[in-house]
Symmetry: C2
Subunit: 363 residues, 2 copies
């Protein structure tokens, strides 16, 4: 494959192993797997899930729900609070497929009256500590108000409680992930205990990639929704969710300049390719990607003594020890393992297998 | 205009004023203006420049050069180090239009031998302190080596010295910008003095948006290449490059949830729309956008007491004082002024005028 500009490569065999890993684990744990497709946003990668028996998925927008629905997915959860302004498209989608979403606003429930013409499943999202979105788990007044509102709309079926413990992303050890996940389990099991009798069909849906990768503690959970594990990335590697061999995508970047005074190498590969997400190293340095050598059939382990220290729109700036600096020349292609594969894939909009096959994504 | 999902709005009249402002200023200063089109990446916005007499532009990639060339631009500088792997496309572009780029690597110059079949102009990029890319200004050995290499290739014409003082982006006052720009001027004028006699056609090309917006000190400069000013953004506002009235784009975001316990409002509008770029406020808080009310014919001044405190892939989390919190409801549309308009526009890939006209961008 002739790389001329920043190109997102996928190691399909690693990706298939990642897909298989959580599918097997879910089966072993006895929980349903509804993988989040916001990471890959690709019909083709979706097929790889389908081949091993996955037929339900999670998405993060109505646009993405439409994309996967149009490509054969018939049981979709949009894990994002219902946006009343998209009601027309929601009605269409819900009339064509099994569609679940999140309702956490009495105002939205009220706005839905007379506007929802197809059946949807609704989860109440619970804030388990990430403080992004979701009800406080002890806000029973609001939970009851929502349950009552759902009951009054014949097109809404209460599906259960859903959470995303996104704060596992700030963990830097398996123990931290387990601690956060255990808190989540306590919260969700206490809700299950409280409401299961009245709503016997209700389910508990959780599932961030760190906890799903690391923990075995899913007793009482009905469904998990991890997404990032399809590719993994440096953030997951530093959390302990994966080892570096499991990272399934790398951005191939042409080397365009070298600055010996600063031991820095400039590549074509910047914020519009990788995103501005970073990790902070123990020494306080900001890291925007790890370096690998592209080789026949894949790439090497991360190169020690080199990292992406900065990104502007198109430039990537690599800091490298002299030994590494001297081994890389203008005209070479170097690989960068992304910090956050979801955002990198979203930016690149297409991925190439190591055999040069182009994998389309949602546009 | 019926906003259903995150939508990038442009206030065309503000944009036209921004375009006019620097065009007039360049004329007054007696420097050529070669605006950077990486911010808008749009043929239509390019036409607005052309209408007031601009016929040259700057781009940041060969792909972008092709896009604008195919749409009538015939004098393009790619302000990015020449990537030898793109030589086929560079040959095509340079045979169809006047094409300049940056060469800062003897290795690249050597690789070009026998591979460059059309005439290009080459700038030597100088590091004026941003430490991204460019030669140290006193590295005369390397400068001479490059000049000699250019002379030996009949398809390369040395165009002059080029700089981008991107470190003005970290400034937080006009004085700081002036100081950085004065250093740049010293460096570039000293190079001009040294080489002008031997290369009488050589030019000095500089031009970051902060300095071009603020400074009048361009004596001896031949060309400026600012880009961000076409839209401006919160970063430029905090630097002092513009006032908030001049910010010409805003992301319209549906409000989907409210969390009273945290005084936080959740909108559809996340990292895949705004980018993860942020500014750090005086109190140490990270800010990912300012809030405005969308109104008939545009938007208000930034709302005091509210800001975007975090972004995940699709979620924007707005922290708001109770007064603001209570005034915004689920189902409303709220505007976010982006921190970095270049990255927001790049992510959104289309922009809508306040009259609902869709403006296409490069895909």
């Amino acid at each position: 494959m002739n790389i001329t500009r920043p190109t997102l490569l996928i190691d399909k065999s690693k990706c298939l192993e990642n897909i298989r890993f959580l599918s097997d684990k879910a089966q072993k744990l006895g929980v349903k797997l509804r993988p989040h497709f916001k990471t890959h946003q690709s019909v083709e990668v979706g097929r790889w899930f389908r081949k091993i028996g996955t037929s339900t998925c999670t998405v993060s927008s109505i646009k993405m729900a439409r994309y996967f629905l149009d490509n054969g997915w018939r049981d979709i959860t949009c894990a994002f609070p219902l946006n009343i302004r998209e009601i027309d498209e929601i009605n269409k989608i819900a009339s064509e497929a099994t569609f679940n979403t999140i309702i956490i606003s009495p105002k939205t429930l009220s706005d839905l009256k007379g506007k929802l013409f197809a059946s949807i499943g609704a989860y109440i999202k619970i804030n388990t500590g990430s403080n992004r979105t979701g009800l406080e788990p002890d806000n029973f007044d609001l939970i009851e108000e929502l349950l009552q509102g759902m009951k009054e709309n014949s097109n809404i079926t209460f599906k259960g409680f859903l959470a995303h413990s996104g704060h596992t992303y700030t963990a830097r050890s398996k123990e931290e992930v387990e601690t956060i996940h255990a808190e989540e389990m306590n919260i969700m099991m206490s809700l299950k205990k409280r409401y299961k009798e009245k709503y016997p069909q209700m389910e508990i849906s959780v599932g961030d990639t760190p906890a799903c990768s690391i923990s075995e503690n899913y007793n009482g959970v009905d469904e998990i929704r991890p997404g990032n594990y399809v590719y993994y990335d440096i953030m997951q590697y530093l959390i302990g969710s994966c080892n570096h061999h499991q990272i399934a995508i790398a951005l191939a970047c042409p080397v365009v300049a070298k600055h010996e005074e600063r031991n820095e190498i400039i590549v074509h590969g910047g914020a519009v390719h990788l995103s501005k997400d970073y990790v902070v190293a123990n020494n306080g340095k900001y890291i925007y990607g790890y370096l690998v050598h592209i080789k026949e059939g894949g790439w090497t382990a991360p190169i020690e003594g080199a990292y992406v220290r900065g990104l502007s729109q198109e430039h990537g700036i690599i800091k490298a020890e002299p030994r590494i600096f001297n081994s890389i020349q203008e005209g070479d292609v170097i690989g960068i393992l992304p910090i956050h594969s979801c955002l990198t894939a979203d930016l690149m909009k297409e991925v190439y297998t190591l055999q040069g096959e182009k994998i389309e994504m949602m546009r």
